[in-house]
């Protein structure tokens, strides 16, 4: 079309200089370039327009057009299938599952569409770890003996996973995490790549154990109403720009994670890589305890697809 349009675009995690912040800006910039300046984006970062749940709601309602953040599972618990613990173990498997042509994308896209969300795809962060202050654990027994309390997203399967791994999961608002670590309400944070823990709480945290229990990600999404209102040409521009953002992230994410592991170590944070036996031990107990619960939460239809795509207990 010839219509000029401006999209309101939000990334709730990180400021303008974080990878997410720069990526949402890139999405806006690429749309503008592809449309010769006809389509522009107005970008907002971090908590400017509210927390994750609120921004997601505002997108579903159409007050915000596009977001780069975690799809919320409050509308449909099955969205949580993307966070299943010890689902995949390396980047090749990640690509096969989460890339825009991957099986996970096929599985989740219709669920999100029912909610009113156009899902462009997963924006990968990497394999998550557990960052703590004072002491750390590399296996179930140590975590339990040290009574390590870590902050977790309260939705299934996050707290259940940490509990199975021997930690105490404490639900804390992202904005309160820093103070909570500082005052000792929790010992640390769980489920993120080292970048977030070092960049945001680095002066508080001492250790980062790369537990690799979850694949950490955001997603590029858009209000479905707004998407449907676009003509084919404009849809093509929006989707192409989104795809470019995702592709670029897949190219750089692994290196980005390695870079920040180095930066964090140089900055005095101790990086711990658990042994294969330790990781297997955690994976076994988590798959034994959390996956059956997932059967109830997500339904066997979903879990059948998951099982047909991954080797469990391998």
């Amino acid at each position: 079309s010839d219509d000029e349009m401006t999209f309101r675009m939000v990334s709730t995690s990180g400021d303008a200089s974080s990878p997410q912040g720069m990526s949402i800006q890139m999405w806006a910039d690429r749309m503008s370039e592809l449309s010769d300046g006809r389509i522009t984006g107005e970008t907002f970062f971090q908590g400017e327009l509210g927390g994750q749940q609120e921004v997601f709601d505002q997108m579903v309602r159409g007050n915000i057009d596009m977001v780069l953040e975690l799809p919320q599972s409050s509308y449909d618990e099955r969205v949580g299938v993307m966070s299943l613990p010890y689902l995949i173990t390396d980047w090749d498997e990640a690509r096969a599952a989460y890339s825009p042509d991957g099986w996970m994308q096929q599985l989740v896209e219709p669920i999100l569409e029912d909610i009113g969300v156009k899902f462009f795809g997963v924006y990968p962060d990497g394999f998550g770890g557990i960052a703590t202050k004072g002491s750390y654990a590399t296996n179930h027994e140590d975590a339990q003996a040290l009574n390590l309390k870590v902050r977790a997203i309260p939705t299934f399967p996050n707290p259940q996973t940490l509990k199975a791994m021997g930690y105490q999961a404490v639900p804390i608002d992202w904005n309160e995490v820093y103070t909570s670590i500082q005052t000792g309400v929790v010992a640390g944070d769980a489920g993120n790549i080292i970048y977030w823990d070092y960049e945001y709480f680095g002066d508080q945290l001492d250790y980062y154990v790369h537990t690799r229990h979850n694949f950490s990600y955001s997603s590029l999404m858009m209000s479905l109403d707004r998407w449907n209102a676009l003509d084919a040409e404009d849809q093509e521009i929006v989707a192409t720009a989104a795809r470019e953002v995702i592709d670029q992230r897949y190219e750089g994410a692994q290196e980005f994670d390695a870079e920040w592991i180095q930066i964090a170590q140089d900055g005095g944070m101790e990086y711990i890589q658990p042994t294969d036996e330790e990781l297997d031990g955690w994976a076994a107990v988590v798959q034994e305890q959390v996956w059956p619960e997932a059967e109830d939460a997500f339904g066997s239809e979903i879990m059948d697809v998951v099982r047909s795509n991954v080797q469990v207990g391998g």
Partner: protein
């Protein structure tokens, strides 16, 4: 433009006597019409903003305030402070100020101190030759120490609307609070001295210490509260919100079983009153959060920063202008409205001119202290008059004198001496 309309709508409607909550609702309606934003869907924003764990501190601290009053904790504290500071004429004024400060370390609001301490101290002070109007004014000014000395629901509100750390904001107003307390004591002593009063020591020293001992023992359960609340927060046992819950759960049995001043009926009334007070604030917040969301979406703070830089050349001039604006707004608006509207609107301006958010917390906190006691909209002064049973006409002059000689100097100190507010947060590692 949007900011101007918003403030204008609120001010005009409030001036006409429309309750704050409906003035705020009208403001969001006006904003949504100007910017073509569908407001009904923004209710989501209002809901998520108020549905907040941090904000739970409000109802909890407000309930605690009522329980302190009804449960006799306030009474024991005042007895202790009176024994401590002495019963000379200027000593009584100092007692009131210090009692308000200690009360401030337990309670999150200023109004709790006015009600509790005013009921107990106004009559005896008049009997000792104080002018009733001055006593009510002094009560109004001193009670605001409760807002500066943590915990403070004013600082919680600021922290929530501007997304700062509650614990850091709490610390920012401690320095200004102590300075204000000292100035109030000095001002009171000078005023009494100039009235020709000679301090008389009626109680022998030995007896006096015995009094302090026995009053202190009786006040001990109440005196434990600041230790539990502030020690708990800064010792890492709980968050400020959890501290509020602990404070209430502690105060109820103390009032019921140790002091035996609180019965079930009393507790019932405390909670009902707290619900009404909190409910009023929360519904106001729903709309102030929606308005603040529209401000951000439409990039109004940035627009305003540019505008201010056009008019005023230097950051210092902007700082002075913002201070004057806050004080002027304080005359016509209540504390909740000021924090809710100006916090998110002005913080970006402040950051732009190099003022730390936590420093701004102290600036805005002090301006609220002044605003609460400057007519025509002077909620704390009104309450003081009501509790002290004295007309506004007798209170206005001493109240304005108190502001001019104590609160205003502190406001200037806070603004131009960042160390006053930043020292403590820095020393404890919150900056």
């Amino acid at each position: 433009m949007g900011a101007l309309v918003a403030i204008l709508v609120v001010v005009v409607l409030m001036f006409l006597g429309v309750p704050v909550v409906f003035s705020f609702a009208a403001m969001t309606l006006a904003l949504s019409l100007i910017y073509g934003i569908e407001i009904s869907s923004l209710m989501t924003t209002g809901f998520w903003a108020v549905n907040s764990v941090i904000l739970l501190a409000l109802p909890l601290f407000i309930m605690t305030g009522y329980v302190l009053q009804t449960g006799g904790l306030a009474r024991r504290l005042i007895d202790f402070v009176e024994a401590l500071v002495g019963n000379s004429k200027s000593g009584m004024g100092a007692s009131m100020i210090v009692a308000c400060a200690i009360f401030g370390a337990i309670s999150g609001t200023a109004s709790a101190a006015v009600a509790a301490i005013g009921r107990i101290m106004v009559d005896p002070m008049e009997r000792h030759g104080y002018d009733r109007g001055y006593v009510a004014a002094l009560l109004g000014a001193s009670s605001l120490l409760g807002l500066l000395i943590p915990p403070s629901i004013t600082m919680i509100l600021f922290a929530v609307v501007t997304r700062q750390s509650v614990t850091a904001c709490f610390l920012a107003t401690v320095g200004p609070g102590i300075l204000l307390m000292i100035l109030l004591i000095i001002y009171n002593a000078i005023r009494i001295r100039m009235g020709g009063e000679r301090p008389e020591q009626t109680v022998p020293v030995a007896d006096r210490w015995q009094n302090v001992g026995s009053a202190g023992w009786k006040a001990l359960p109440a005196l434990m509260m600041p230790v539990i609340i502030l020690g708990g927060i800064y010792g890492g046992f709980f968050t400020p919100t959890e501290a509020a819950a602990i404070a209430l759960v502690y105060a109820i049995p103390v009032g019921m079983f140790i002091y035996r001043d609180l019965d079930l009926k009393g507790l019932f009334d405390c909670v009902v009153q707290a619900a009404a007070t909190t409910g009023v604030i929360m519904v106001i917040l729903v709309f102030s959060f929606i308005a603040s969301r529209i401000f951000t979406m439409e990039r109004i703070p940035q627009e305003m920063t540019g505008f201010l830089f056009e008019i005023f050349e230097s950051p210092t001039a902007i700082l002075v202008a913002v201070n004057l604006f806050l004080i002027a707004l304080g005359m016509i608006m209540d504390d909740v409205s000021i924090i809710a509207i100006t916090g998110p609107l002005l913080l970006p301006v402040m950051t732009e001119i190099g003022v730390e958010p936590v420093h701004f917390a102290a600036i805005i906190g002090m301006s609220v202290v002044i605003g609460c006691n400057t007519p025509p909209m002077a909620p704390i002064l009104f309450l003081s008059c009501r509790v002290g049973n004295v007309g506004m006409s007798r209170v206005t002059k001493p109240a304005l004198q108190l502001i001019f000689f104590t609160a205003l100097p502190v406001q200037i100190a806070v603004t131009f001496w960042p160390g006053l507010s930043l020292f403590l947060p820095r020393a404890l590692g919150y900056l």
